[in-house]
Each structure stands twice: as C-alpha cells, then as structure tokens.
C-alpha cells in the first residue's frame, strides 16, 4: 500500500518540470488595505508572494480562488507560494478585515 502511494507521489512530483528562478511579487498591507490591490503575474508559473504587513494588527491573507490562507502578523511579513495559474483573475482578501482588504491577482 505505502509503496504504491510512494510511487504515485513520485509520479506526481516528476510531473512538474523544474523551472528557472521563481518570480517574486511583493504586496503591502497598510490601514487594512492591500497595496497594490491589483498585481499582474505571468501565467503558468509558480510565484513567490511576499506580503508585508505594515499595520500593527494581524491579518490573514486568504483566497478561495488561489487556494491559499495564511496569517500575517502585525509589522511582519509572510511568504506564500501561488500558481501555476491559468490566465485569469484570482481575488484575494484579508480575512480579518474583509470589507477593506481586497485585492486581485491577474495572471496573463
């Protein structure tokens, strides 16, 4: 059982070809807003998102479309890997302040 699972996992790992350096995108949180609130990223590629929280209060980066969720403490940063994405729009929001903290990733 476990050997078969291991084999499957190996296949899954090999299915993703190695790529050159991962592009890094930086976003800031200020006054419960994402800056910039719209980020354009290359489609079909893994992206390293670095979220700097400049507020003293914690925030949670959340996106159903990107399938991501991560706490970013006040005055600190968080690294979140996203993608590869098909071309399209992927909204994200701050779960602790969802009315103001809204943003979108546009893959193209």
């Amino acid at each position: 059982m476990s050997r078969r699972l291991g084999l499957l996992l190996t296949f899954a790992v090999c299915a993703v070809p190695a790529r050159a350096a991962t592009p890094v995108i930086e976003i800031e949180i200020r006054d419960h807003l994402f800056l910039p609130s719209e980020v354009r990223v290359p489609a079909g590629q893994k992206i390293k998102l670095v979220v700097y929280n400049r507020d003293p209060t914690p925030e949670e980066f959340e996106s159903y479309e990107l399938n991501r969720e991560k706490v970013v403490m006040g005055s600190s940063k968080a690294v979140i890997f996203i993608g590869p994405l098909k071309p399209g729009e992927y909204p994200f929001f701050g779960e602790f302040n969802p009315k103001t903290a809204q943003g979108i990733v546009i893959a193209e």
């Binding site: 899954a12 209060t57 706490v71 006040g74 890997f81 098909k86």
Partner: protein, 266 residues
C-alpha cells in the same frame, strides 16, 4: 465588524465542533465516559492561546513557511490519531478487549489538536482588537455568536448521529469519521504545496460553479469532507488515498475480529 467576526469565528469553530460531536457520539455508543471531551476542550484552548501568541516566531521557521509546516504536522497528527480511533472503535464495537482509557486519550488528543489549529487563528484575530476599544465589544459579541452557532451545529450533528439505529450508526459514523480524517490529511498536502515543500500544479477541475467554497454549503462540505473546488492532482491523490487507508484499517480491524470470534466458537 460584528458580522465579519460571526462568520470568521463560525468558520474556525465548525470544523473542530463537528469532529468533537462525531467522536462524542462514538464515545457514547461505545459506553466510554465522555469527560475526556472537557479536558480536550480546555487543553485545546490553552494550546491555541500559546500557539497563537507565538505565531510570529513559528512563522520565521523554515525560511518563512513555519506556519504551514507546523499546521501540516498538526493535521497529520490528527489524521493518524483518527486512524487509531477507527481501529480501536471497530475492535470495541465487536466486544473485544480495548482499553476505554486508551480510546478516550486518543480521541481527546485529536480534538485538542484540532482546537489548537483552529483556535489559534481566533486568538490571533481577537488579539488584533485588544487596542481598538471601540471595536472590541462588537468583535467579542460577534465571536461569541459565531462560536455559539458552531457549537449548536455540532449539537445538532451529535443528536442526529445518536438517533440512528446501531447498524446505521456504525456505517454512517465510520464513513463520516473517514471523510473528516481524509479531509484533515488533504489539508496537509494543501499546506505543504503552499509552503513549496510539495510541487504546485494546475488544478484538475474547477467545481466552484457547482459549490462555491465560501458559500454556506461549501463551508459545511469543507468542514465535513475537506471540500476543495480547485484541487491539484497531488491534493486529490493524498485526499483519496488517506480515505482508502483509514477505511482499509477499520475494515481490517473488523475482519480480524470476525475471524478471531469464529476461532473462539470453533
């Protein structure tokens, strides 16, 4: 602000509440004293506070993906504990000697860990409003309402499970336990993909047109079966295989029981 905190806390509480109700009903069926649940809730909340207030340190670990790794470890531990629960519960169901204490301890640890995982986010959320005096009261009120709804949903779930007949309860309870456990394991994959410890891939499908993850049904399905509208191949493999593994373990425990009973009669 009030509504935001109701929804946020409800989301966090729901998963742990459903797991607790499921195990409590199981414990009642197997005539195990349910005091373990109280200890699990108290230690879970204490653990959530400790974890929540140290999350900035944890986040720094493993080049900034400490949160994902620790959460994945918590989820994995819960999955393994639920596999043990499935095996022991099956044995006890067949009236074979299984220590009541061992089962109670395993269930207690799994619930406590689930509360640590979900509760820590609530602690972090609330900590953000400690300085904001004008918002603190509505946020606390909203959180209490959200927690109340989550606990009520758990209670409804608990009594529905207890109302089932014995045979149906074994099948439905066992199936739900396996689904919840597999959902926990799937989150391990999800978290490690986010941390870039496991490869990221294109999703296999997008079922958000059918059930949106942020809808009420989406949230319930997430808490129950780990519903994910855009799963990647790896996520699916882990989800399905962990479901098969726990079912297999429970059935193997059941089968060996039947065999030994037959031997005893012979």
């Amino acid at each position: 602000m009030l509504l935001t905190s109701v929804i946020f806390v409800l989301r966090e509480v729901l998963e742990a509440a459903l797991l607790l109700s499921l195990l409590l009903s199981l414990s009642k069926r197997l005539s195990i004293v349910s005091s373990w649940a109280f200890i699990a809730i108290v230690t879970g909340i204490l653990g959530a506070a400790v974890y929540g207030f140290n999350i900035d340190i944890v986040s720094e670990w493993f080049e900034g993906v400490g949160q994902e790794v620790v959460n994945a470890a918590l989820q994995m531990a819960i999955y393994v504990l639920l596999c043990i629960v499935a095996i022991l519960a099956m044995r006890r169901h067949q009236d074979r000697p299984v220590s009541e204490n061992v089962l109670a301890v395993v269930m207690a640890i799994s619930v406590a860990l689930a509360i640590v995982r979900e509760g820590s986010e609530v602690m972090i959320y609330l900590s953000g409003f400690l300085q904001a005096r004008d918002l603190l009261v509505p946020v606390l009120a909203g959180s209490a309402i959200g927690a109340g709804i989550g606990v009520s949903a758990g209670a409804v779930f608990y009594y529905s499970l207890l109302s089932l007949k014995r045979r149906a309860a074994v099948i439905v309870g066992g199936l739900l336990l396996s689904l919840v456990a597999a959902g926990m394991a799937a989150q391990v994959a999800q978290l490690l993909i986010q941390a870039d410890w496991l490869p990221s891939q294109y999703p296999v499908w997008d079922s958000s047109w059918l059930v949106e993850e942020n809808s009420v049904s989406g949230q319930l399905l997430y808490a129950l079966i780990g519903y994910e509208s855009t799963p990647t191949p790896l996520h699916l493999i882990v989800h399905l295989s962990s479901f098969v593994i726990i079912i297999f373990l429970a059935m193997a425990a059941g089968r060996s029981g039947t065999a030994s009973l037959e031997n005893a009669h012979a």
